[in-house]
Assembly symmetry: C2
Homo-oligomer: 335 residues x 2
DNA sequence: TTGTACGCGTTATCAG
DNA sequence: CTGATAACGCGTACAA
């Protein structure tokens, strides 16, 4: 099933077949039809790898995410795929976890010829991956990460603001003992933590080291974080979880301990994944505009691929606090 | 950063470099060290594509799923990745949607040189994709699909039994008007429907065409299906949704209409994704052993890659009905 | 140790 | 208008 087979069947040379495929050069209509017929009969499809070898694009985008089982990433992956398909591109997803170097080097090197560009949504502390890629001239757009030090297009929400508003919401409800559970590996989480700190400051509250727990952003870790927080002599009355999974973990942990949300504990999440609407009570959370972000990041990347150079746009979206049922005016007794 | 660069820097030929990389042939220890040093200095990594071109494996697995935003698939994708990593393999995920032919042909052809094997979890009606792959000698294992007509290893749950037990559960609770919402594209859904029908039969209940809705397995479609079912002159008192997403959709739809679950409507899902534990009330659902299935499918595929041929095992897992809070002994008035 | 033909399936360039 | 053939990129493998 190569052009040789087609050529043989059509009784022409491979050059002619190639021309038919690429619609280049002129030839007798009858020849063209003969070739086309042969292609159909043999169910021939051009080998993408060989084209890639010749420097042609593969019409494929690479998407790097830290954890595909996190609904935020699987939802945005879906949006990205849909948009890419609309524009005639395929996407392959690599869930890089946080195995740092090795995995990712592998992944990206492996891809660098196979995909026309990358959407990097992973949460590296190590930025060399992106840097290597751009130096090698591979189009890259970063998603979810705001790092001014890296010279590529970026699409992200204002994490600081999101963290700030989540915390202010708790404060306005009368809470003072507000804990934060953040993702240790994520740049976005440090921004969200800064927002949290800033909000505390405007209310004149000294942050407590004990109320700041860093972990990986899974449900299991959310449960653990909750347990740790509630073994404190003075447990928090409100928690800001830096993603919805963590928040679900808190809810599950609280449920087990018989602690009522929002009566005894207020909770805000981040992302507004399907999880936030499926829980009971429904989760108050900071929404990221997943649909727009996914669409934008694809458009940006494809532009860059076509243009041949990066526009280095940094597109900042506004997070939006969605108040549902896990937060309520507090009935705080002490102070 | 090719072997040529390394060779130049080390002052040897590329042949020597190649030998060092592959640990073949003999050479002076000092030469070997010189080459190794050069490789490190240049941060050289063998180009996987070139090796692939030469017929070497890429230590990469391809995973095809119909919809990555479905937690069942994103959760199993995660398990598959973890297991693959343990064994030194990477995995790239393609969410093929149901765009049938075009997309998938593209995807798989694109991969056929790039990955050492495939895990196919998609829900084709068109089995030619898998067939082509196996004919081309590419290792393939099917996940989630039981199709005796296809001659490859398969890992799946007993969908018939799952559907049967879900329905029996409803029947035992006194329900007679039981609807089913199935995924139109999924082979597994037809099995589950058969189980549903069989259960009805053992209770001597004639299935009603109106209670059988087929749709795509998303939350949005779950809501729609619910709406349709509840506009019926005689709405069902129980629903079996063929996946958790559909079930969530039903819950959301019911909530909107003010219909109480389980008081006014009993609900069983399928998959036991995180969704089932996060909702309120928590979802009664038929669990698939996601962790084992993911692990098994990877082991099977890697075996096949190493062996060079398929063992054509068909591994059947038992589904397990997990009774939570969306089903309750019915308070059915009529009949 | 080294030189170098070879492999993959195209595309592209010239002759004919 | 069509065909022969040289790239393309990067290793592998075998003869020298």
């Amino acid at each position: 099933m190569t052009i040789y087979d087609v050529a043989k069947r059509a009784g022409v040379s491979i050059a002619t077949v190639s021309k038919v495929i690429n619609n280049t050069g002129n030839m007798r209509e009858s020849t063209k039809q003969r070739v086309k017929k042969a292609m159909e009969e043999l169910n021939y499809h051009p080998n993408v790898m060989a084209s890639a070898l010749m420097g042609k694009g593969t019409k494929t985008l690479g998407l790097l995410v830290p954890d595909i089982s996190n609904p935020f990433f699987s939802e945005i992956a879906k949006v990205i795929e849909d948009r890419a398909h609309e524009k005639g591109y395929n996407v392959i997803i690599c869930s890089t976890d946080e195995n740092a170097e090795k995995e990712k080097k592998n992944v990206e090197l492996l891809q660098s010829k196979l995909v026309d560009g990358f959407i990097v949504g992973s949460t590296y502390s190590d930025k060399s991956i992106v840097q290597n890629l751009t130096e090698a001239g591979v189009p890259v757009v970063m998603l979810t990460q705001d790092d001014p030090a890296i010279d590529v297009s970026q699409v992200f929400v204002d994490d600081f603001k999101g963290g700030y508003e989540a915390t202010i919401h708790h404060l306005q409800n009368g809470h003072h003992r507000i804990a934060i559970i953040s993702e240790q590996m994520a740049l976005s989480s440090v921004k969200r933590t800064e927002g949290y700190l800033q909000a505390l400051k405007t209310y004149g509250i000294r942050p407590s080291e004990e109320y700041l727990v860093k972990t990986r952003g899974t449900i299991a870790n959310g449960i653990k974080a909750f347990d740790r927080l509630f073994r404190l002599p003075e447990p928090p009355t409100a928690i800001f979880a830096c993603n919805d999974q963590l928040a679900i973990g808190v809810m599950l942990g609280a449920q087990e301990k018989g602690i009522k949300i929002p009566d005894q504990l207020s909770l805000v999440g981040f992302d507004d994944t399907i999880l936030a609407r499926a829980t009971y009570p429904r989760l108050t959370t900071v929404a990221q505009p997943i649909a727009e972000m996914g669409k934008t990041v694809v458009d940006l990347l494809i532009d860059e691929i076509r243009l041949g150079h990066s526009k280095k746009e940094r597109i900042l979206y506004n997070p939006r606090l969605i108040i549902r049922e896990t937060t309520d005016r507090a009935k705080v007794e002490n102070i």
